[in-house]
Amino acid sequence: MIASRATQRAGLLAAMLCAVIASWLADSAGAAEGTIAIRGDTVHTMAGPAIADGVVLIEAGRIRQVGPAADVRIPEGATLLRGKVVTPGLVDAHTVVGLSGYLNQPQDQDQLDTADPLQPELRAIDAYNPQERLIEWVRGFGVTTIHTGHAPGALISGQTMIAKTRGATAEEAVIKPVAMVAVTLGDDARAKGDDAEKKSPGTRSKAVAMLRGELVKTQEYVRKRSLADEAKRPDKDLRLEALSNVLAGTWPLLVTADRAADLASALRIADEFKLRIVLDSGAEAYLLTDRIKAAGVPVIVHPTMRRAGAGETENLSFETAATLKKAGIPVALQSGYEGYVPKTRVALFEAALAAANGLSFDEALATITIDAARIIGVADRVGSLAPGKDGDVAIFDGDPFEYTTHCTAVVIDGEVLSDEPR
């Protein structure tokens, strides 16, 4: 319990204990084969109405059955977990944990390479550190799936991926090695690093011109790669291969933009090249609800607690997620990117504040479960408690959004990965 942990060196001991449990869990390959029954006073399945006194039965890592306790037969020998409130494992629709390390020193910052403004070929899996402490941190608050990867801050900073908050290697953690290609429009897309003022893009117009130019170049590349005469085909180019996937609609563009004008630019480019895009951050998205709705584009809204300042963020609102939701736009929430202290936010807390600022409980929970899973393209596996889905569950001792509630256990693929109240 938290109270008993509150001793001088409790944190350190707990950390050591966690490490021991984690290694034990990793070693016992049979654990995932076991059966887990999770009983909650309220089970929010996100696949239908909440169930009072419900049970989630997990077998071999997958959800076998979800229903009222009276209707679910719990097999002999099953591990039993109890809680007041049970939810699907939480889905953080956009973060940089695993690439942007918690120490914030050059050696653990792999989310952004500023040498070149256009680098869609950078794969997230090659930089993902599954041992990063912030992954364990967010998992402690119920987060089981993260959409992470290259950060905002370059016109095209690289690819993103989807992982579970477990696993000793990227291969064990990843459930989708490439999710999207990260684009930034607006002030933060300007060139960075040494002599930044002499580099492109130096203006918003230049950034859009460069992005359009690269997409046109990719169109030409795709055309020439399928020429009948093999000798005339261009050499394989990783950058253009990556953008080919974008043009083909296989990989959506994740466009981070805040000012209304930059969000409009993103929609304009998507329309011109018939791209699948997801808008990210969207501080002023509430000014463009009609256009975003008409374009059928979802928005992964900035952390509700994102800090306001001059420029891009001066018009931030706690109510943006609610405004977009009311306009009929698919919305998810995220922990985002933090460049200083704290090094990451926690999706649960961001949804909690959105729930206090216009979203209903169910809508807010959906922004970090099923709606998030749909927007990042993994709703077939995570985001709701339904038979056949991954055995990912978060257990709470009260309303998950209340500040004083604890996340008491986290289960991923049928393994209990955290049972220390947080």
Binding site: I2, A3, R5, A6, T7, Q8, R9, A10, G11, G101, Y102, L103, N104, Q105, L112, T114, R133, L134, W137, A151, P152, G153, D188, K192, E284, Y286, L287, M305, R307, A308, G309, A310, T313, E314, N315, L316, S317, F318, E319, Y337, E338, G339, Y340, V341, P342, K343, T344, R345, V346, F349, A352, L353, A355, A356, N357, F401, Y403, T404, T405, H406
Partner: protein, 442 residues
């Protein structure tokens, strides 16, 4: 202040004329029916708070508290009233302290650089804050004098200053150790050098103070005025509290060691690793002004940040206040800080005290603010419900009996929730907030 300065004399005279009348109420006002959390005692389920002339007249159960017949009666049944929140560490207002010229600049006053029109002040009132300690940054060993402000509506900084009975402006001295203040020379490059520079300055200040004492008022024998030395003498004589940034356990202990050597009054700020040395802090009697963050890290000295700090300090008997460090955390969410403290094991009473009275004590202002008690300033907030619930809203904020925030007012609401124009003029760049600032930091 070893000798009265002309500026203070003028201020004192002005204070006599201006005083508080512009905020005074002719009629008493009685807030009746709310749950009253006075901090000074247990919560009162159906209470009454009576205020007049900017002060609290009475606090107690609605049934037994005498309400003056002339009082305006305001029914606040179903709501919660508690003291205005006291933020012991804020950077609101875009103020900048010392510059790059050196690591110790106690002559610099943050009050000379604050923009009172900064939207951050409106957001503070929306968050229920009524008193701030506005600090210069942590990039120096001593980055300047802090200023205590009362969040009245302001046209100039003078409108919100706290002053003592003699008219002197109240504030502390911001100091820091650890990594933020380590830079290229003339700044220190190591922790040992940091402490040595500070000790040398205090040794010099002691000599300066002794010359003043020996002069015994003889103007011929007084040393030349020196603003740096005057500020440090204020610290040595206990007139200014040292508000000391320290995250790592050993940095915290270093502050305690320097305090023992020079005898100044100190408050430890941020204290990410205070949970490791809670008993040592308890023995010193020094209080901690604690930050609550959403995760550890962001810099090496915050790598072992833990949510349990408040709970551990409470059990060890250390005085604990919270702060926003705005813009690091949002002043509108200051109540959340206490709630997360409770999540990690702190008692409800101590967590609420840490937002109010404990902070007032750390600013030596507890005679005036921090609790709802007769005679104290009528700084109070009306909440829609439990102060520790995410769904609770600050409905109204009062400073010296005057309403300075009303959530029903559309303009005030804009600052409470954000939206177009809510952050115009807000300077949040004082503390490495943008991606670019982090790039520059590397």
């Amino acid at each position: 202040m070893f000798a009265p300065r002309p500026s203070f004399l003028i201020a004192a005279v002005l204070a006599l004329f201006i005083g508080r009348p512009s905020f005074a109420q002719e009629r008493p006002v009685a807030f009746i029916g709310a749950e009253v959390i006075p901090i000074a005692g247990p919560a009162i389920p159906a209470g009454a708070v009576v205020v007049q002339e900017g002060r609290i007249l009475a606090v107690g159960p609605a049934a037994t508290t005498p309400i003056p017949p002339a009082a305006e009666r305001i029914d606040v049944t179903g709501k919660v009233i508690m003291p205005g929140l006291v933020d012991t560490h804020s950077h609101v207002g875009g103020g900048r302290g010392g510059d790059a010229s050196g690591p110790v600049q106690p002559d610099v006053r943050i009050l000379d650089s604050i923009n009172v029109r900064d939207a951050g002040f409106r957001k503070c009132r929306a968050g229920g804050l009524t008193t701030l300690n506005i600090m210069p940054g942590s990039g120096h060993l001593a980055s300047g004098q802090t200023v205590y402000v009362k969040l009245r509506p302001a046209n100039t900084i003078e409108d919100i200053l706290y002053r003592d009975d003699a008219g002197a402006i109240l504030g502390g001295l911001k100091m820091a150790n650890g990594t933020n203040s380590q830079q290229e020379p003339p700044f220190p490059g190591t922790r040992g050098k940091s402490a040595a520079i500070v000790r040398q300055k205090f040794v010099k200040a002691i000599a300066y103070r002794d010359k003043i004492r020996q002069a015994a008022g003889d103007r011929e024998k007084l040393p030349d005025r020196d603003l740096e030395m005057e500020a440090l003498v204020d610290v040595l004589e206990g007139r200014k509290i040292v508000h000391h940034h320290a995250h790592r356990a050993d940095d915290i202990i270093t502050v305690l060691r320097l305090r023992d050597e020079f005898g100044f009054k100190a408050v430890l700020h941020h204290t990410s690793e205070a949970w490791k040395v809670a008993h040592e802090i308890a023995r010193s009697g020094v209080g901690c002004s604690v930050i609550v963050l959403d995760s550890p890290g962001g810099k090496i000295e915050a790598m072992d940040f833990s949510l349990v700090t408040g709970a551990v300090l409470e059990k060890a008997g250390v005085a604990c206040a919270f702060h926003t460090d705005d813009p690091v955390t949002d002043s509108r969410l200051f109540l959340r800080t206490a709630a997360l403290g409770v999540r990690a094991g702190m008692s409800r009473d101590k967590a609420l005290e840490a937002l109010t009275l404990a902070g007032a004590r750390m600013l030596d202002l507890d005679g005036r603010i921090g609790s709802l008690e007769p005679g104290k300033d009528a700084d109070l907030i009306i909440l829609s419900g439990d102060p520790l619930s995410v769904r609770t809203k600050v409905l109204e904020t009062f400073v010296e009996g005057k309403k300075v925030f009303d959530r029903d007012d559309p303009e005030d609401r804009l600052f409470a929730v954000g939206g177009y124009g809510a952050s115009r003029d807000q300077d949040a760049e004082s503390c490495c907030m943008s991606t670019r600032a982090v790039e520059a930091q590397r």
